[in-house]
């Protein structure tokens, strides 16, 4: 003890004794921390600092909490003031009383960054409340006696807090945390994955909750911007800007399209969408005016200078086209201070170039440096009467680098502050390389072309799923795989149709009646089949009162064509293999007969129709089996697929309906009808809450309704009343006597479309 205190200087002894701490590592850092604290904190602040540090040292959690606290606290105070200490200590006490004291160290560690993001005490308290809720909800107790297991997600959340807070508002953070707690509360490993931002889900929800302008939301606007203002067109491909903290990706373009960050926050008074437009304007200007030049003979500095100048040139040309761009460029372009860097000890090439670039852009720049002024002048003189060329920029750039060269240019310490112009692309298209590289091995190895996986079926499509618990969609939750239904013997279906020949004959009569349908009245005819009384009386009144009567007092009729597109969606889940009550046939066989008859009937009517089946095996594997498409005829191929119908797995109805809807939506018909033939309620083995998939199906029906698709359910479950109305409202029929299905289904269709 004596040896340790000996290292503490005299003037700090009094604080050291107040701290009353025996950890040797604490003694090592104490003098430095204390001096900093004395410089930054008030008298009361210092007292509180010592007191709480002492508390942390005596918590029985080792020296880590006290060490972090001593080191980080002064900085937190600098950001937020001393008054936040009680809130933070109250939170730490709560953690230490729960099994979560392991999370104290990550919490303290994240504090300075958190403080920098949150600024005010109110926001910090909100943040602590979110963390507290997370802690309470994920700390599990066994047998309900007392809390035993620490929250798996809490420390991870603190570790991720800096990333999270840069991208989310507190409301967004709360939603993100809620989502993790709700879905992973009973699965500690996945909870850790979620809160450490490892799982796809976690990233997807983060993306959804982000602040700023998302590229996906504005894709159409930006495509229009390119097409309308620049007559250019390309794919806009987002890259994630959220996870690469060290090396931020830069916009660029290549053969596949223009790569832009997935989100732009408003910055420097420029809205996110305008930042996208600035980036696009810059890239399009390159595409329009830049000719690639050969890079091999230039040094890296020369190349950098050429890039800066060429960027300035294309922007100059773009601003000639649209002068309003200048406001945006000016706001986004950094204005490096002239004397910001230390010429002796750091490389200032970037700084000089950024100043030159600013001087070219901004006529009111404050720079006095003669060379900067001279070269800006030279640039403008060149551009005054022409468009210039990339080669002109090469000449100016090389001469600029030569003239301004400093001994410090080769230093590793580069001055970066205010030199990154973030709306500009990485200029990769500007260079031609004659040799790919200098390394010897570069010549030996022939480039390998990855063979790539063979495409089997279509790639999965992802659909949202509605979660009624928090009234929001789970993003990209369900994967739907679409494939052709395996084929069987078409003759089986013909045999089924023959079996129902009597029924078919009756149906045919109805169909014949149905064909010429939809009489539409045409009014205001001078000559027509009937007198239109309303108009005739009006004309008579006109005539009596001396005004010019309308002679078009007749009406006639015309037959309007049917314009209905139909999608028949079959539930092919395991339960269809059961025998129907009071029948020798399985439900599947009966469905098969019914759909065959329906198919035959619709074909007779000539309405475009498609048939598909679906079943699911968890959300990762929803199968959508294509039986008949709109462009296919009702022929042996289709009948073959129908004959091979098999049932297995479960019923995830919402995703299948959404997928079917995206085909039906593309049909040009006036009326769109989706018939869903099912024998039970939506369910899947990975969904414990039976209500969830019912709610999702209901939501899917609402979505379809918005797309102008009328969905109608034919349910074979006699106990379906409990849920089917919840999903489909009044758009359903329950068929109790399943053996009547083959007859009922076509009849139903006919009456629906009459």
């Amino acid at each position: 003890m004596a040896t340790q205190t000996a290292t503490i200087p005299e003037d700090l002894q009094v604080y050291w004794s107040q701290l009353d701490c025996g950890f040797p590592r604490v003694a090592e850092v104490f003098p430095d921390c204390m001096r900093r604290a004395l410089a930054l904190l008030s008298g009361d602040g210092v007292a509180a600092y010592i007191e709480h540090a002492g508390f942390l040292g005596k918590m029985g959690r080792g020296d880590e909490p006290i060490l972090i606290f001593l080191e980080e606290w002064p900085e937190v105070v600098e950001q937020m003031g001393e008054e936040v200490l009680p809130d933070i200590m109250a939170f730490i006490r709560k953690m230490s009383k729960s099994p979560n004291s392991k999370a104290i160290a990550p919490f303290l560690q994240s504090l300075p960054v958190t403080a920098r993001r949150l600024h005010t005490r109110e926001l910090l308290c909100d943040y602590l409340a979110i963390a507290l809720e997370l802690m309470e909800r994920t700390t599990s107790s066994v047998h309900g006696i007392h809390q035993t297991f620490p929250s798996p997600g809490l420390p991870e959340m603190f570790i991720q807090a800096p990333v999270l807070l840069t991208q989310l508002s507190l409301a967004g953070l709360k939603n993100w945390v809620d989502y993790g707690v709700r879905y992973y509360n009973d699965h500690p490993d996945r909870q850790v994955d979620y809160f450490s931002l490892q799982s796809a889900d976690s990233k997807a929800v983060l993306q959804r909750e982000r602040h700023g302008t998302l590229l996906v939301d504005n894709n159409r606007k930006l495509t229009m911007y390119m097409r309308g203002l620049w007559q250019d067109e390309d794919m806009l491909i987002p890259y994630s800007s959220g996870f690469d903290e060290l090396r931020k990706p830069i916009p660029y373009y290549d053969k596949l399209g223009i790569r832009l960050p997935d989100v732009y926050d408003d910055a420097h008074g420029v809205t996110g969408i305008d930042r996208y437009r600035a980036t696009l304007a810059h890239i399009i200007a390159h595409r329009r005016w830049t000719q690639a030049v050969i890079a091999d003979n230039m040094s890296p500095f020369q190349r950098m200078a050429v890039e800066f100048l060429e960027d300035s040139r294309v922007e100059n040309l773009a601003m000639r086209e649209y002068p309003g761009l200048r406001r945006i460029f000016l706001a986004l372009h950094p204005a490096p201070a002239e004397n910001a860097c230390d010429v002796e000890n750091e490389s200032t090439v970037r700084h000089r170039l950024a100043m030159l670039s600013r001087a070219i852009l901004d006529a009111q720049h404050p720079y006095k440096n003669k060379l900067i002024l001279e070269y800006a002048q030279r640039f403008h003189a060149l551009m005054a009467n022409s468009e210039g060329s990339t080669q002109d920029m090469v000449d100016i750039a090389i001469s600029f680098i030569v003239k301004t060269r400093l001994p410090s240019d080769n230093f590793a310490a580069m001055h970066f502050k205010d030199t990154v112009i973030d709306y500009r692309d990485d200029n990769r298209q500007m260079w031609k390389f004659i040799e790919e590289g200098d390394e010897e091995e570069a010549f030996d190895e022939p480039r390998k072309i990855e063979p790539g996986d063979e495409v089997k079926g279509l790639p999965p499509r992802h659909y949202h799923e509605w979660d009624y618990n928090n009234q929001s969609y789970r993003p990209d939750w369900v994967s739907v795989y679409e494939g052709l239904h395996p084929s069987g013997n078409a003759a089986d279906i013909d045999r089924l149709l023959e079996k129902h020949a009597g029924l078919a004959k009756r149906l045919k009569k109805i169909l014949d009646l149905l064909k010429p349908q939809d009489k539409v009245r045409i009014r205001y005819q001078e000559e027509g089949s009937e007198l239109d009384l309303d108009v005739a009386i009006r004309s008579l009144i006109d005539y009596k009162s001396g005004a010019q009567p309308d002679p078009r007092i007749n009406m006639s009729h015309r037959n309007d064509g049917r314009s209905i597109a139909v999608m028949v969606l079959l539930d092919l889940s395991e339960s269809l293999n059961e025998k129907a009550a009071g029948s020798e046939q399985t439900i599947l066989e009966l469905s098969q007969e019914a759909v065959s008859l329906l198919g035959w009937a619709v074909e007779k009517l000539g309405d475009p129709f498609a048939i598909a089946g679906f079943h699911s095996n968890t959300r990762h594997d929803v199968r959508y089996l294509h039986i008949k498409g709109y462009s296919e005829k009702w022929d042996d191929t289709v009948k073959g697929r129908l004959a091979a119908m098999q049932a297995s797995y479960s019923t995830r109805m919402g995703a299948a309906m959404r997928h079917a809807a995206h085909y039906l939506e593309q049909q040009p018909a006036d009326k769109k009808l989706m018939l869903i033939l099912t024998d039970g309620q939506p369910s899947d083995i990975d969904s414990k809450d039976g209500e969830l998939l019912i709610a999702d199906a209901r939501q899917a029906v609402k979505e379809l309704d918005r797309q102008g698709i009328y969905s109608y359910c034919i349910n074979l479950d006699s106990k379906a009343d409990e849920y089917v109305a919840d999903i489909f409202g009044r758009q359903y029929t329950i068929i109790d006597k399943i053996e009547q299905l083959p007859q009922k289904l076509p009849e139903l269709f006919i009456s629906l479309t009459k």
Binding site: T223, Y225, G228, R277, G324, R326
Partner: protein, 267 residues
């Protein structure tokens, strides 16, 4: 003849030729060939016909067609009056009698059974039978038939029949080149050429979006409106929004893009 006078165009309408359409029209008129003018809305079709009527010093009778229009709306009908009935000539009949240029604007809007009444007037016969009245009118030597239509926005159902199309010589109009269009704006509204080229630039941004959410680009007519507003003291940005963007679209994305085009053009 008083009747004829009222249909004349007395003051020279401003028309900026885009090519040799004026000479070609005069040639067509000399032979009294029927003329069809096609082109997007607001590109100057009606203005051109008006100008030609003025130039040739002939009366011009314009009929705006609509889908409720019947053949009798064109040729005329019997009306009841105190003494029984009285025949009233329709605009087409009047034109054929007095030797006017009869201009049927947006002809495809009229139903197809209506458009066929113009057939006998548009071939070598140059006659108009009034079957209800039992009269056959020989067209006046000065009479000429002109129709216009916009091939862009009408539906498939509304196309001219081949038998109608093949009775006409045709001019295809489009929005003028940027330079000419700017001159038109300057002359029509009396604004500077620099300002009018900026307006044209915004107009072209919108025309590039045609088919991608816009059915028609911003017409020359709307550009003239904007220019007129600016001349009247409205700020250019506000005038453009009011006259050029708000009328043509309800789509928020397009509106934003065009608003940005305005901001980017007027620095």
């Amino acid at each position: 003849m008083d009747n004829k006078e009222q249909y004349k165009v007395h003051k020279e309408p401003f028309y900026q030729a885009q090519g040799d359409e004026i000479t070609l029209y005069e040639a067509a008129y000399r032979a009294r060939l029927p003329v069809m003018v096609k082109g997007p809305t607001g590109c100057g079709k009606s203005r051109f016909i008006e100008y030609m009527a003025w130039k040739l010093n002939k009366p011009l009778i314009t009929v705006a067609c609509n889908e409720d229009m019947t053949a009798s709306d064109l040729v005329g009908r019997y009306l009841l009056d105190a003494n029984g009935t009285r025949w009233l000539d329709g605009p087409l009949t009047i034109a054929a009698r007095i030797g006017a240029i009869c201009y049927l604007d947006e002809i495809v809007e009229a139903r197809q059974d209506t458009t066929v009444v113009i057939h006998p007037l548009t071939d070598h016969r140059r006659t108009l039978p009034l079957d209800k009245k039992g009269e056959l009118i020989e067209a006046h030597p000065d009479f000429q038939m002109v129709i216009s239509y916009n091939p862009g926005y009408q539906s498939l159902m509304k196309d001219l029949k081949q038998s109608t199309k093949q009775r006409f010589t045709a001019f295809e109009f489009d929005y003028p080149d940027a330079k000419i269009e700017a001159e038109i704006l300057s002359k029509e509204a009396g604004i500077e050429l620099g300002l009018s080229s900026q307006l044209v630039k915004i107009g072209q941004a919108a025309r590039n979006l045609k088919g991608h959410g816009l059915d028609e680009g911003i017409s020359t007519r709307l550009l003239v409106y904007a220019a007129t507003l600016i001349k009247g003291g409205v700020t250019p940005k506000a005038a453009c929004r009011m006259a050029m963007v708000r009328p043509i679209t309800d789509d928020a994305d397009i509106r934003d893009t065009l608003d940005h085009a305005i901001d980017a053009t007027f620095a």
